[in-house]
Amino acid sequence: MRIRKAGRQERAFRFLLFSCVPAFLIFLSGSLSAEPVVIGSKKFTESYVLGEIAKRTLNDANIPAEHRQGMGGTIILWQALQGGQIDAYPEYTGTIVQEILKSTDAMAGAVIAEALGKRGIGMTKPLGFNNTYALVMLRRRADPLGIRTISDLRKHPDLKFGLTHEFLDRQDGWSPLVVAYGLSSPNVAGIDHALGYDALRTGQIDVKDAYSTDAKIAQYDLVVLADDQKFFPRYDAVFLYRLSMNEKAIAALRGLEGKISEGTMTRLNAEAERTKDYSQAASLFFDSSPGPDGNSTRLTSRVSRSRGGENLGHKLVRWTTRHLELAGFSLLLSILAGVPLGIWASRGGGIGHLILGFAGVVQTIPSLALLALLVPLPFFGISVRTAIVALFLYGLLPIVRNTATGLQDIPRGLRESAIALGLNPAARLWQIYLPIASRSILAGIKTSAVINIGTATLAALIGAGGLGEPILSGLNLNDHATILQGAIPAAILALLVQWFFDLLDRVLIPKGLRL
């Protein structure tokens, strides 16, 4: 009788490594299959609401549609649109001219449409409101100083400006405004849009940038400083869409042209910020206006309301499931690539240094920057795929490093005994070296898992969902309760993962090493 016994740990290792691969491939193929019309939106309230309105309008026309909320800024949305990850999103004419077409001069609507058309993108006529940039101050701060216009700021060089990063970086933003108004070396800090309102209220800053339909203007009693030099171009809201999108969908979106007034939009924005519920706010538009397709309005608003009214439990399950998918699949990839790379690196030499060096460098790239680097690449774009790849890269270093050091720390006597016995290299690795290094390797995997749970919250930035979704929209609305809906489950998940791996240690680390 011939006997060949693989150890229990060894079998467990192999099982872990190989059983999950098919599952992962199925997951990938699933994410590539045909999708409904995808509407994107930028990371601020009005864009969310317009996204919801578009989705409902399409549904009214019996076109399946989904809305990826708050995917990021102009560049990310524009690239996603061109790359086909989304089919349409709300944009502003001023932004199109300056940021997308990179023109310094104002352009007529027809000229813009023609330029976009050459890139396969269509544009609706204005939806009916102009949401231009504005500088705002608290009324109780501006009035005593007699500030009414942007020009008046010249007389108060000591005022503190808190401006969004996008405004600071835009071609039609801060730098040319300083020149146009001749402001002298103002005191400026970059700050998140929603947090900026808090800073304004508490007096940490005096002036911030805002949008002219911003709900906060009424809420906080702000003064919009008059643009006396007519510096800001028009920002008429429109929808951009792929010309290849189906004609019915295009017609449905065009049905919104001229339908949303400035007053309506400000009201919808205020409602969205008050209820923290974008579909609810969007439904106000359908209730108050005879929608583009009057007959089905009532039906869709009911449908949307039930979606909007999705209870917290369901939402938590959805976010958590997606979060675990993101962290889990990326961890799996990190293990599949990291352990072999670690084995390779443990042999030292030039390649070993190269591998450890590469993994180390990836770790030093800020997660946001890594996402931004991946998004423009052809295969990636705004997708779950990109999030998983970014998380995979982040998870690599702890696994590679711990595998390499775990193997290198095996005492010389054991290493030489394994060779001197005459075991072949594969048997040495599987039966001797990897089990002895298992504690270190598992510690690396545990570190990656915990890091991934935390970093996966950033996936929401590129529309990949997860527990980052409530954190981002909470941050956007400056609503702590919403932030905690994401932050608390994420923290609990991290603890559970830690606990799970402590259990796994007992199964996978051979008993002889735990004495």
């Binding site: 009788m1 011939r2 006997i3 060949r4 016994k5 150890g7 740990q9 005492p411 006597g413 054991l414 030489e416 005994s417 394994a418 060779i419 001197a420 016995l421 005459g422 075991l423 072949n424 048997a427 039966q431 001797i432 089990p435 002895i436 298992s438 051979p510 008993k511 002889g512 090493l513 004495l515």
Partner: protein, 249 residues
């Protein structure tokens, strides 16, 4: 045929980072004999053993095993014919004593009933209680670990046994017991062995031939009495006296 030595080292040299660890060494290991390598720490004893089992390759010279030069290509087959025991035992901590001993037999697909009876035989030979076989190395004493290590080395009935200070880390009582058992085992099996020690008394007790090394070279080889009475150099006398004065203390 049996007159030929089992292992021959001919003009073997090995240099580490410019420093010669072993220099122009010639050694013959005779069938059925226990050859002992002795010498101060760092004189190149372990390096010689590593060269024989192919953990290192010589810079120059030739090693012959059973008449044929060692080839890297078939080194594993030669390794199956050699047992190797090191000071700390070299037992794999994640495997029980039993699995350590049976590792190679299983790897080579030996018949289970043969290996099981071989294991009982070895337990008796090495005086290792069978009821401890399912313990992990960390659950055994130093002396027990060395007995298991010896059993592992003997499992495939090797023609040559290499022992690198196998008793070096043991306390004197355990050490004495193991010395006696080793001598018996070598005699019973008519085992060809090459043993490293830094203890002259152990060398004299276990060895048929003593090879004294210093700074990578062989200083003298022969019986202890030859070394004592006809020292080849001042170093031989100094080395022997240093050990003797320790024994007197």
């Amino acid at each position: 045929m049996t007159a030929d030595p089992l292992v021959q080292l001919i003009g073997i040299s090995k240099t580490f980072a410019g420093a010669a660890a072993v220099h122009e060494v010639d050694i013959s290991i005779e069938h059925g004999k226990t050859t002992v390598l002795i010498g101060p720490s760092g004189c190149g004893k372990s390096t010689l053993l590593r060269l024989i089992i192919g953990l290192l390759e010589p810079d120059s010279g030739e090693i012959r095993f059973d008449g044929a030069p060692l080839h890297t290509g078939e080194i594993d087959r030669i390794r199956h014919r050699i047992g190797y025991v090191i000071q700390e035992g070299g037992l794999f901590p994640h495997l029980t004593a039993r699995r350590n001993v049976l590792l190679m037999a299983r790897h080579l697909g030996r018949a289970e009933n043969e290996t099981v009876s071989r294991l009982s035989e070895l337990c008796a030979l090495a005086r290792f209680p069978e009821n401890l076989l399912d313990r992990y190395p960390l659950e055994l004493s130093g002396g027990q670990r060395q007995r298991v290590s010896l059993m592992r080395a003997l499992m495939l009935s090797p023609e040559l046994l290499l022992l690198d200070e196998p008793l070096g880390a043991l306390d004197p009582l355990v050490r004495a017991a193991l010395q006696k058992d080793l001598k018996e085992i070598f005699a019973r099996l008519n085992q060809t062995a090459l043993l490293i020690t830094h203890d002259l008394a152990e060398a004299a007790y276990l060895g048929n031939k003593i090879i004294l090394m210093n700074e990578g070279r062989i200083v003298q080889q022969g019986l202890l009495t030859e070394l004592r009475e006809k020292p080849a150099s001042e170093f031989v006398t100094t080395f022997i006296n240093a050990q003797r004065s320790l024994a007197v203390l």
